[in-house]
Symmetry: C2
Subunit: 319 residues, 2 copies
């Protein structure tokens, strides 16, 4: 019996699957080249692909409960995984705009608006968001590898609905609006002071909602009962919070070269962070508690495996 790959090797494999599928996601040829170029810049400029990998991992974790083999569950979840990553990339493009966070560097590369101008960057984000729903709704999906099993229409609609809720006014859009206000960037609304509760609410919407929807969509598209989906959701909520806290910690500890983005920017913009509120040691402890709860949920639902390893890795990572 061969040794199973390490978590890192397994994540690399999933990342390759996702990146290859994403190469099929844009309507090249039929659309004007310049907007496809800008969308490609935003979509294919690297990154860990954490969210779509989580979608595939959740699909694989629940596969036995759905009576599916792990490879078929993975194939079935690829359109959902791509949709999740396209939504993530759209949000980065728009968040980086001068009218929002005004970031010039992302993953060590110039941001989309730095290369293509603000107008085309808005459009590239709009396009990615739209095509995200498109790859889920299309039959066959342009991102589905040949011979992939297609989930039934009602399950695809449910996943679409989960992703729209996570991306919309309740979720990411609402979270970014809160962030924008905190930064004093909304003329009609004076900045509101943020304490820990407001900070948690903002992160839950801005980043937590899509991490949860990523995992939920993987479980849901494969077809398992609601209680299993709920367990995956709770796991992802705790995992997402742990990631956020460790991101804040790394933002304080890290360097430009390692993270590929401008360091200490949040603190400079006056946004509260976990280390600023609690210090680095207590923040790491908070993240560890999240991971403990995430792992306990997996254990209770009979879903231990790679998702458990991912939770441990979320604490130990240095980038």
């Amino acid at each position: 019996m061969s040794t199973p790959p390490t978590l890192t090797a397994y994540l690399d494999e999933l990342q390759t699957v996702v990146s290859r599928a994403l190469q099929q996601s844009l309507p090249e040829g039929a659309a004007p080249t310049l907007v496809i170029d800008a969308m490609q810049h935003a979509l294919m400029s690297g990154g860990k692909r954490l969210r779509p990998c989580l979608t595939l991992m959740a699909a694989e974790a629940v596969a036995p409960l759905a009576g599916l083999t792990v490879p078929r569950a993975r194939l079935m979840a690829i359109p959902s995984a791509c949709a999740v990553e396209m939504i993530h990339c759209y949000s980065l493009v728009h968040d980086d705009l001068p009218a929002m966070d005004n970031d010039t560097l992302r993953r060590g590369q110039p941001t989309t608006h730095m290369v293509y101008g603000d107008g085309l960057a808005v459009l590239a984000g709009d396009g990615l968001l739209t095509e995200a729903f498109g790859v889920l709704a299309a039959s066959p999906s342009p991102v589905a590898p040949p011979g992939s099993p297609e989930a039934p229409a009602d399950r695809r609609l449910r996943v679409l609905s989960v992703l729209a809720t996570a991306a919309g006014a309740i979720g990411m859009v609402g979270g970014q609006a809160i962030d924008l206000r905190a930064a004093g960037r909304i003329p009609s609304h004076p900045p509101a002071q943020m304490g820990e509760r407001e900070l948690r609410d903002m992160h839950a919407r801005k980043t937590g909602a899509l991490i949860r929807a990523a995992a939920v969509s993987g479980a849901m598209i494969v077809g398992v009962e609601d209680a299993v989906v709920a367990a995956v959701d709770y796991y992802a909520q705790e995992l997402g919070l742990a990631f956020q806290i460790i991101d804040d910690v790394l933002d304080v500890e890290g360097s430009d070269a390692t993270l590929g983005k401008t360091v200490g920017k949040d603190a400079a913009a006056g946004k509260p962070t976990y280390p600023a509120l609690h210090g680095v040691t207590a923040s790491r402890q908070l993240a560890a508690e999240c991971v403990d709860r995430a792992k306990a949920t997996l254990h209770a639902a009979g879903l231990e495996g790679r998702l458990t390893e991912l939770a441990d890795w979320s604490l130990a990572r240095t980038t």
Copy 2:
């Protein structure tokens, strides 16, 4: 037997139905108030609601072919109609941004970014686009009146796919990118000279695609064979072109007070228009030929009625 209402009265009735449904479209309460306010500003500030009315009209026109009563066909198409209008309104918010067309006035009101700032305007547009897909995917849809029949999941997915294609890189996003380039607003791409062919391509993407998708989604959600959907599609293509040409003509002839927007702006921005290319008389003649083809298609498909009247109205209107 009572006299049927005039086209204007019928359109007013549909507009009321759409506006009432749209009031249920946003996740108020669960989302931060400030982003809902900005989305409401963009969504509820008037306008003719032409596109969603076209969705309902197409649904009603094909109802007998689908074995449905006209009132049930209308109810079934309301989520599609709302999705169409939300996509339209999102595109107006983003197109009006300083990074795009830099419009300060829309329907006689200050544009969203003038009231809420550029950042929140980007987010309001993002939110409307996202919730558009959300209202179609959710079951029950938040915009469906109580007791509405719900279209089967596979038809809702097909409509979603049609709308995503019309709104995405092939359609509206691509059309706006071409427009932006023509205006010299993309630093990485020098402006390209536009002749009539390029003008037609831009309009087909920027406005034609959603008008076609609006009509197609109404026919498709009710459930008719592909040939009927294709006839509705061709009708809407010709109708959309007629609308565009007459819009250009009115832009030359009109006044700020009647149109509620800055007049002569396209000409001032150096964008070619139909009157600039052909003169007003020949432009009106071109539009009349579109309407003739649209009506002939309806006749051949056995779909004559309100859609025919709408085609005639598209020529005669003064606003």
